[in-house]
């Protein structure tokens, strides 16, 4: 089992990624959708660190660092969009994001 632990990490990462992806597809609340995107990003981060450890390379951890920064920027812009949308229409769902079009 000990030698197969990296594979177990990758499986966990795959399962978490799919949970997040299904969440993005089925939930209609934009805030919950953003949280599901965070789940997917974290799943990928986990596999980056696993690969980095398996191949004995620090670059895996550095890429995760950059992914975290991009995720933070994404959340900031996404939440600003949601706030701007909900100000015009309280209780907005993902369908109301079509107001973004022009």
């Amino acid at each position: 089992m000990g030698s197969n632990l990296p594979l177990a990490y990758l499986m966990l990462s795959a399962i978490l990624f799919v949970i997040g992806g299904v969440g993005v597809l089925i939930r209609r609340n934009p805030l919950v959708m953003i949280m599901c995107v965070e789940l997917m990003l974290n799943a990928v981060n986990l596999s980056f660190v696993t690969f980095g450890k398996t191949l004995d390379d620090i670059s895996g951890q550095i890429i995760v660092f950059f992914v975290m920064v991009v995720a933070a920027a994404e959340v900031v812009v996404g939440l600003a969009l949601i706030v701007a949308m909900a100000r015009r229409r309280p209780g907005a769902t993902a369908d109301d994001l079509r107001t973004l079009r022009g």
Binding site: I15, M35, I58, Q61, M68, V70, R87, G91
Partner: protein
Amino acid sequence: METAVFVVSALIVLAGGLGVVSSRNPVHSALSLIATLFGIAVLFLNLGAELLAVVQVIVYTGAIVVLILFVMMLLGVDREEDLDTEPLVGQRFLAGLIGLLFLGAILAIIIVGKEAIITGSRSVTSAISPTVSNVTQIGTELFTTYVFPLEITAGLLTIAVVGAVVLSRRPRDLEPIPEPESMTDMGDEALTTVPEEGAH
């Protein structure tokens, strides 16, 4: 020991992930997300990425989830959602099917390929050092090899902040907030029109 930590953290991560997707209340989703992110931080520690584990707790659970919760409270969406009705018929079935197919494909590759799926050669120039600490090594790499991506990241964060300010600013066609009466209203006429519907 490593396996035991992995099993416990993996259970926390999966339970939290399912909680995010299936909670009726968005606040419960956010709290489940904290559990997931914390479990992943423990897994990072288990993999020897100490700096990332700390950054995960500080940035994700400390900043991002709090920001999401703050917006939830600001917008007042902390209500139970009706998850029983399905607005698009067949949406959940299709989403589950796609998810299962994708998961099955990845798991099949991992199970069949075993160690061979981890392709690539061992690092020569940036190997994980057994003597230098994790923080020192990541810092050195960030400011030498990855200095240009780091600068671009700084630009990205600036753009994100400016974008957030522009997006969440009040549109110009909405009524401005009236000034205090004692300073402007001399009793002659209304200096500011009454805000109409939509200017909340």
